[in-house]
Subunit: 142 residues, 6 copies
């Protein structure tokens, strides 16, 4: 019997962004996004939780070495987002709204090719004390 | 491909309650509920997390505007519970035990008619630092 | 050289209260205290931090055994406040407004006769995530 | 209609451990486990969340009395782990790597025979501010 | 005997900034400020704690009504910083380095004329999970 | 006018220790230290806050560059305590009781020779969720 366990690593980054749809007028952006549309940007301390699932190895007791998970998250996510402007400095967010929904899906896509032990289960991203987003790699049936 | 994402908004309220079954004697209430049966009430800072799931809009990057979710939670839940007595002041808790299990299901029922973008996924309610309840709208098969 | 060190123990309690001055009309109470004047009470999870200062013993490394400090706080404070109504159930708060300012000074007065190793330095009391009070035993010169 | 609700109780314990595979050389242990292989041990404040699911009783509003859940967790888990050495002092961890993955599964096995109201749903264990593990009783299909 | 008590209110704001001295070259800025000098900005969730000291009123139990303190902080600080760019959008930070040290002193200067009950005691500002600044209105003797 | 500001940096480490006075019998140690005397050790996640006070530079807005403060704390404190046994592995704790009071004073002594901008003001050390110690470099007059 192989048991399925979930392990989570937390990292964080600080970044600037704004919510602004360039196809809309300034007035429409302010009506929809309010203060988040401020043209001079605002920013957040983002807390990122990455969850891997799998069966722990008998030799190590690990699903995946958390030091390696930390290094993967840092190389492919934190290095690209920390002390950056999400709208301007991050190629894989270019042309998308800089919402945390889109950011969480983008982080998933960055990580998934680099998880070789266990399987990526969840990307959870806190933007403020009062809101967070989760993505589990699911799609909606149509 | 439409991706399914989960977004959560946190609110809080402060309220009084007691755990007391009026069909039982005072002694039985104290035997079962201990200090929670104190007839002069006690209270808590409740932390409420409401999770919506759905596919983010391309125009906004949002499943549902969190400002609107905040307003729905405030109008239909917080306004009715904050600085109230759950046993005495809340019509939709009347006649029920004021446990967090029942409170979480009651909050679900208050919210579900007002979620029009995405779908209500979870109501999570912290009562103290040491306990919380979650309701996902599930029923038990019999 | 004897060094002065400060040690803090955290405890918590859950209680009901209201802010209501019986010398005033209901309208005046609502005008000043707002929702906190709700006649049917509300409540909080209170976090209490008690700080003792003194010189650690060479034999134990302790200013005061924290297990004993915990027992003093529990006997003289928590036992009297936890799952109680601060206005109705606590003799040493009787006849005073149930504000956290008054509660912190009352807790100081409960503790100070029972601290025999080191000296009581601070009572800090959180009422919600957003406010706390501190009392250091100071008086204002007039 | 019986609704399915999830209730969680948090407890904590402080313990020492090391990650060290006795079948390997000291050098191999250090190469894989780094600082966690320190032969003189290190330790953590562990936060344990135990989740039970079930249908709340009409009489009490409870799935399971949280005071009883607390007592079960304390008797069968905390009493055996708190202020202990996980590698040396805990019979049911003997011969296994002292990883949090293995610890969470061990805690599950300790608890499951003692949950008689509702059903054990999840054991979640935080080891540091930056990592935690979850076990839901699942097995991998082969 | 009038007792001296300290009361603290927490608020928060989200803002963008950069640490960049315009009198220096880009290289010098990067050498001193590292990632914080990113020309496209970064940002934070700032937590602000404002402490007032004074003697509680017998009628209210309050040093100062916390609802009024909240309103003062919101009007004179949060409204001007939340979802703003500290370097570009805040007149009273103009021409100064946007460090949290300078920001805390600026917030003190904004608040002090508006505290009429009790006395402003401390402005404490968290920038990340790992650093905060405090200003008590003190000056260094020379 | 030079203003005096306080800046704090948080770091953390995980370590094992026991409270055991070798001049006493095992029974006396257990009577005084209880579970903390377990001969096979226990451990904690320690949170360390180091506060520096001084006047911010006009050029940088800094009292002391927090990156440098982080490096000083890591080189002289964290490197020596993290994933170690405080009783066995740390030369400057040798021959002292491994209490957090003694540990905080030891950390102060490690840091003070390396603070060249501003002045060391406080070492604050959390051992569990429920207790912490502070040392401000003060001595008791005799």
């Amino acid at each position: 019997m192989k048991r399925l366990v979930y392990i989570t690593r937390k990292e964080h980054f600080n970044a600037a962004h704004k919510l602004f749809n360039p196809a809309w007028s300034k007035e429409d952006n302010e009506a929809v996004f309010g203060r988040c549309a401020n043209e001079n940007w605002h920013g957040h301390n983002f807390d990122l939780y990455v969850t891997i699932k799998g069966n722990p190895s008998e030799d190590t007791g690990f699903i995946m070495d958390l030091k390696k998970l930390r290094d993967v998250i840092n190389e492919h996510v934190i290095e690209q987002l920390d002390h950056r402007n999400i709208n301007m400095d991050v190629p894989w967010m270019s042309g998308k709204m800089a919402s945390i929904e889109n950011l969480a899906m983008g982080i998933w896509d960055q990580l998934v090719p680099h998880i070789h032990h266990g399987q990526l289960h969840c990307v959870k991203l806190w933007e403020t004390h009062n809101n967070y987003v989760e993505y589990f790699g699911e799609t909606l049936e149509e």
